[in-house]
Symmetry: C2
Subunit: 103 residues, 2 copies
């Protein structure tokens, strides 16, 4: 399996309402993309100093599943409506994960 993680730093004009809207849209999107096995998205809890503003973690079966998710029209719709205009910086990493190893 593949664990896809992404962190985001927002532009200065991004509001809490934007972020709440984004989280609702992403979780709704994830629930309707079959290739996504597990998903979470939300603002950084900031339990440690520094850090980014927002994070996403998604579990998919393989590279094809990752493409299906990231290229999905529902994902593009969230990007076009919200995410695209919010991002100042984004980082992402894909890591291999043995099934059932992360729970």
């Amino acid at each position: 399996m593949i664990l896809h993680i992404a962190t985001f730093r927002w532009k200065d004009d991004v509001t809490e309402a934007d972020v709440a809207d984004l989280t609702e849209a992403l979780l709704d999107m994830a629930s309707r993309i079959g290739e996504i096995r597990s998903y979470t998205a939300g603002p950084n809890l900031h339990l440690r100093p520094g850090g980014a503003d927002y994070g996403v973690a998604a579990l998919v079966d393989d590279a094809a599943g990752l493409d299906a998710y990231l290229d999905h029209p529902e994902h593009k719709a969230v990007y076009d409506r919200l995410l695209g205009r919010m991002i100042a910086e984004r980082t992402a990493v894909q890591l291999p994960l043995a099934e059932g190893s992360f729970a």
Copy 2:
């Protein structure tokens, strides 16, 4: 539970041997820190364009568990020996996660 994710961009002089050494050291460390429920670390598979060089994902019970992990002498030892001199940029995010929701 808390999902802690971190992404790293390496300095230009970091070698593949450094990265392999780091991954072995981190996985060994994680196996000996009781507060870490699940853990993975490794170089970005680069299944999509761009992205960071390396990622870590760790699952802990709560904020105290996160502190126990990140402030652990074993973690500090890996930082002092390898990680500290490798990092050009680091981002990190903590997200809440319902138990059993990510598997």
